[in-house]
């Protein structure tokens, strides 16, 4: 009885971690609140639609494509927007409004180009390439649901969770095992001191911004499978969800997001299973309680003032 929501919660939670981690990376490094985060997710979903419907390929192939595409988009956008924003009096607050504007632009452009209809991809198509490859090698892959501890779950959930774990692992490698990551963490902890030691803060930030958007786009590729369908207006809700996850983990600590995502995923599944009429309320109440008791999130540094 309890096993199903718990395991499903962990699967969703891993995906939710991926959904939030890009937002958190951008905030942690630049102190910028990317309110258009959900819209990049939505664009990632449209990359998946393009790969599947136009090219007829496995949507899983959209993952590397979306990542590379949006890292480039991110670096360009960074150059256009952020240096100017940083000159203003209150960049942290104004970033909220700037990126709200950007989210409006993205949503409007996608609506003009593709209309407002709901789009989805049949769930079994995700990973079809792997199944085909396994068949060619003579193995007998089982399509359809995957069994974990005696409970069966849609294969798409499992694939999303696995890709999320890989992506989060790569973020860890990037932050803790590469030179760029060390510089990024330096900028994260003390921007001005990093600048004073001769780090090219702008370049580090541009990379982090690009990677943040790239991660959002990867999460977006799986959005049609995890949420059923995606519309151009999907972005706003996704942004709020991402915020809840990020703050649960701790704003400004990208790896804390992994914990936040799992906590959120399990709560989400438990409430949906046992108390569905109050399910909508949960993330927000959870968020406020966490913010008031531990404003820095479950794993964060102290940020409270006055």
């Amino acid at each position: 009885m309890l096993a199903y929501p718990l395991i499903a919660g962990v699967l969703f939670g891993l995906y939710f971690s991926l959904l939030g981690i890009g937002l958190n990376l951008v905030f942690g490094v630049m102190r910028i609140v990317n309110l258009a985060h959900g819209d990049f997710l939505m664009l990632g979903a449209f990359v998946a639609f393009g790969v599947f419907y136009l090219l007829g390929l496995d949507p899983l192939l959209a993952v590397p494509l979306a990542f590379v595409l949006f890292v480039i988009v991110g670096i360009v956008l960074y150059g256009l927007l952020v240096p100017r924003l940083q000159q203003s009096r209150d960049p942290e607050m104004l970033s909220i409004i700037l990126f709200f504007g950007l989210s409006q632009v993205i949503e409007a452009l996608v609506t003009i180009a593709f209309g407002t209809s709901e789009r989805s991809i049949p769930s079994r198509e995700l990973g079809s390439l792997m199944t085909a490859a396994a068949k060619a090698l003579g193995a007998k892959p089982e399509g359809g649901p995957v069994d974990i501890l005696g409970q069966s779950f849609p294969a798409a959930w499992v694939i999303s969770a696995v890709v999320s774990v890989i992506a989060i692992g790569l973020v860890y490698v990037y932050l803790y095992r590469t030179r760029l990551g060390t510089l990024t963490r330096a900028v994260m902890s003390r921007r001005d001191e990093a600048f004073a030691t001769g780090i090219n803060v702008d370049r580090v930030c541009a990379a982090a911004f690009g990677i943040g958007l790239g991660l959002a786009a990867i999460a977006g590729v799986f959005a049609p499978f995890m949420f059923g369908s995606v519309t151009p207006a999907f972005g706003a809700d996704a942004t709020v969800t991402a915020f809840v996850i990020v703050v649960l983990g701790s704003l400004g600590n990208p790896l804390g997001t992994a914990l936040g995502g799992i906590v959120y995923g399990i709560c989400y599944m438990l409430v949906q299973t046992f108390l569905s009429s109050w399910a909508d309320l949960l993330p927000y109440v959870l968020l406020i309680v966490v913010l008031l008791l531990r404003p820095s999130g479950l794993l964060g540094r102290k940020v409270r003032v006055a």
């Binding site: 209150d90 632009v105 452009l109 609506t111 709020v240 409270r304 006055a306």
Partner: protein
Amino acid sequence: MPSFVRHMLLIVAPLMAAFAILPGVYDNHLLLFNFVIFLILAQGVNIIYGFTGYLPFGYVGFFGAGAYGFAIMVMHLQAPAPLAVLAAGVVGVLLGLLLTPLLRLSGAYFAIANLAAALAVLHFVANPALESITKGPYGVALNGTFNPTLAYIGAVIILALTLGFVVFLRNSSFGMALQAVREDAVSAAMAGVNVVKMRVIAWLVSALVAGLAGGVFAWYVSVFYPDNVFSSDFSIFAIVFALFGGVATIMGPIVGVIILYGIYNLIGFTTPQYFQLIYGVLIMALVLFLPAGLVSLATRRGWNVP
């Protein structure tokens, strides 16, 4: 002439006169009413963001709570409408008191927590389990109190009171103290300003204003759903209008509402997605090129803008 009286005579009085005369010469009374509502909300945002630096991203929470306060007074206690509007203000203040702990948070944390709070109130009110009290998601219909003319007059009176408070903030040591707290809370406290008390007063006044506006809005429209009165458009429009004109001034939010809400009504209804595009671009341009709002065009030249 003291500047307080001058501002009341030169800004508030002509605006009130305009809103008193306009219904006689212009037929779209709903539009006029909406202008008044957005003027109130933009000034409410001005009080809390302009003078204290807290960005209320869930400002609509107070507005919606006020609307439901009005509806519950009318539905369950058969209160006369003006009394119910006052009760709506009280509901706004009570919600403000409940959320006072959020003021401990700073920067983006506050904005996000406030957004979550507004969504929590929405999901609470819209919960089917509370149907006997709030009518849940099915919406409220108040036939007995429907009186657009009186509601319009009520809204104009609330606008006058709100503007009066902003004029007071602009011309009093209280307003100066708030701005000092916004710039540097520690220094202000050293100079003898009671930081916490000041912030809480501004926060509650801002909540009161939005609660009253919500009440009078409920009176005017009489039929509404939770999603209408808790629409995040209210928060975002109010913030953008206030910022566009320039916060911490009396004129800024007024100019912002008249220009931007004017544009919205010219093109917003016929082609919403093109409006959204223009709006998004406008918001981004505002933050990048004119972060202190339209009034900064004048203040840069050394002119004093009230």
